[in-house]
Amino acid sequence: MPRLEDRDPSLDDPENDVASWSRTKELQKILWNGGFAGIAFPSAYGGLGLTPEHQHAFNRESQGYEMPLRINVPTLAICAATVLDMGSEQQKRDRIGGALRGDELMVQFLSEPRGGSDLAGVTTRAERDGDVWILNGAKIWSSGAYAADYGLCLVRTDWSVPKHAGLTMFLVPVHTPGITIRRIRQVNGSTEFCEEFFDDVMLPADSVVGEVNGGWAVASRQLYWERTSMGGGSPYVSGWGRGIPAAAARSLAGLARSVGRLDDVAVRELIGESRANHLVQSALVRRVTIGLTTGALPGPSASMTRLMHAETDWRDSDIRVDIAGSAAVTGATGEVGELSLNRQAGSLGGGSTEMARNVISERVLGMPREFAADRDVPFKDVKQGRA
């Protein structure tokens, strides 16, 4: 792999998304050709069929090299993992293989303009017409959709039953007639987010993942992998870090030095606090992983690592702003301030931290579920908005 110091820094510019994605594919191809792609994926689908520990060892060694980090989430760690668990043989071979070879990227078409937290309340619909399905509706907040090839798309296929029972998951080719993609600009300038409109999109029957009207089971698996990868416990992530902007990856000590505050005791305490948080975060990931494999913790416990990840992230954002001081808003370290405007992204993407807290209190601690006005109600009778 190319050395990290030779990496083209213009790829970090949020305006340079397209180049950054094609570089990701190039790097993944290098990994594939070198025989290191998909270390923990089964060999039948293009992986190496080795253990998470092998992947870990590789990740350790890969520090210092430019890695295709952006393919990890969601393509490999969420979408390919879900296809592996729930897809047909053909889908596993095509999609997992395509991703590992560096040919294809996948995205998640889950959230909708009417709401993301209430995921099972989606209103994008598919109707069967002979051999094909006809898709209509809209999705939103899908990261990287413009650069992607396939989307895991959750839609409603039966309106006469309560919400969880009428859903189906499809693998949708992103660049197909009837799909319009519009980019949405984020506060940090990135145009990573997309909105998709589906107008009579024709999908062959074999694009269903899992069972027709069994989409919630697929989505649940997908959410499991999302929580796991957001928390830092996925066996399918190759390389460390998230391909995040340079300002976030920059060392706090380096930042402190650049603003002349490295010897300030208050600043040193912030640097130490951040280091403690990161060590605690990885300790929690290790603990939850062991807890899940030994059965000592219930499955939804991965939400705890998801919550901790958000907490560590936003505390880092605040610490960076504190260290940089006024230089974060007008001066050499301005990117620190810019980045802080997007502080909540990590607490929303991958499901909000409020939903994670619901999961922990209700499904880990067994506390009473929140009142749901749509429980056991045929979906067509459920209120969709204030009007």
């Binding site: 060392s251 706090l252 000590a253 380096g254 490295l262 005791v265 040193r268 305490e269 912030l270 640097i271 130490g272 606090e273 280091r275 403690a276 948080n277 060590l279 605690v280 975060q281 990885s282 300790a283 929690l284 990931v285 290790r286 603990r287 939850v288 062991i290 807890g291 030994t294 000592a296 913790l297 416990s301 705890m304 919550l307 901790m308 409020e354 994670a356 807290r357 619901n358 999961v359 922990i360 209190s361 209700e362 880990v364 601690l365 506390m367 009473p368 929140e370």
Partner: protein
């Protein structure tokens, strides 16, 4: 508590828990708080029989552990003691034992500590000073074959009942530790926020000790003091983890039992979300304690860093969690009768002792910055 304890460790935990539950209930803890002594020596000797003093001592010196990872076994005891705010000099005795065993010699003292006949403590703080165990003001001056020690140590745990004091002093050759007997020093009790953990100031008024009182090598105590800090730090964090675990457990039970407006507290999202945070932090506390424990057990390169991370995180979150549990109990939570304050006292003392969260953060920054410079 680790999720992957061996069957032997699980059995050890059960035995420890049963013993503590039958011997030192929280009622007993309250009684001890007004008694002349914070623990009974005969009781401590029975704890020693259960292995509480043996775990850091090699088998050929009469010690031994359940899993061959003595420190990890000892963390089990610390955690169980935290769950019941138990009395007893677990931390000071074991820190001193680990120092003596690493240094070699002092066989008689090791033997009597092991048997629970003697109690030792770790004298590292000094009046008016912060947490700087390697920069003592107490001096050691050579005198014939022996040494003269002068100065004062304070915040010395279990000083009132200790027979032996591991004193860190500045000798002309550098940092040196001595094992000083009780009759050579004067102990003045000081106040303690904890109901059963007691502290004292220890005066060394030109105390003469023989050369055999030196622990390890004259002038070379730096590394062993660092090691003692790690053992103390992780033991204390494990004890706090046990306390937090227990408090969260009974506060969650309370949230299910207590009703307001016709429904249990556990059904209100505003409270459920706080419980979700507290559960996450509590698991994180256990996680960092066991990572730090393994590193100290294995004498890994990152042991000091992980212990500091545990000190910073556990100190801060434990008191935040327990105070929030007081809030969630409402008025009953701030009464003397309720057990919450016993736990809050223990956690507050642990947060302040052997390094505050700020001390640990500065230590972490030093590590991070020097690593980046390398």
């Amino acid at each position: 508590m680790d999720f992957d304890l061996t069957p032997d460790q699980k059995l050890f935990r059960e035995t420890t828990r049963k013993f503590l539950e039958s011997e030192v209930s929280l009622e007993k803890v309250r009684e001890l708080s007004t008694g002349p002594e914070s623990f009974d020596r005969a009781w401590w000797a029975r704890g020693a029989e259960l292995g509480w003093t043996a775990l850091l001592v090699p088998e050929d010196q009469g010690g031994g552990s359940v899993s061959d990872a003595g420190l990890l076994d000892l963390l089990i005891v610390a955690e169980e003691m935290g769950r019941l705010v138990s009395p007893g000099p677990l931390l000071p005795v074991n820190v001193v034992l680990s120092a003596l065993v690493d240094a070699g010699g002092h066989d008689d003292s090791v033997g009597s500590l092991l048997a629970g006949e003697a109690v030792a403590t770790w004298a590292v703080y000094e009046p008016g000073g912060g947490w700087a165990p390697s920069a003592p003001g107490v001096t050691a001056t050579p005198d014939g074959d022996g040494w003269v020690l002068s100065g004062v140590k304070d915040r010395v745990e279990s000083a009132d009942q200790a027979d032996l004091f591991l004193v860190t002093a500045a000798a002309p050759e550098g940092l040196t530790q001595f094992l000083v007997p009780r009759d050579a020093v004067t102990v003045e009790p000081t106040t303690s926020l904890d109901l059963v953990r007691r502290f004292g100031a220890v005066r060394l008024d030109d105390v003469t000790v023989p050369a055999s009182a030196v622990v390890g090598t004259v002038g070379q105590a730096g590394e062993s003091v660092a090691r003692q800090q790690q053992v103390a730090g992780v033991l204390q964090a494990a004890e706090t983890a046990g306390a937090v675990d227990r408090v969260l457990e009974f506060t969650i039970a309370w949230a299910f039992d207590r009703y307001s407006f016709g429904r249990p507290l556990a059904s209100y999202q505003a409270l459920k979300h706080r419980f979700a945070d507290m559960k996450t932090w509590t698991e994180a506390i256990h996680g960092i304690v066991s990572d730090a424990g393994s590193a100290v057990q294995n004498r890994a390169d990152d042991a000091a860093e992980l212990v500091a991370a545990a000190g910073a995180y556990v100190g801060e979150k434990s008191t935040a969690i327990i105070q929030d549990c007081v809030q969630l109990h409402g008025g009953i939570g701030v009464t003397w009768e309720h057990d919450l304050h016993l736990y809050l006292r223990r956690a507050t003392v642990n947060r302040a002792l052997y390094g505050t969260p700020s001390d640990h953060r500065r230590a972490l920054a030093d590590i991070v910055i020097s690593r980046e410079a390398a």
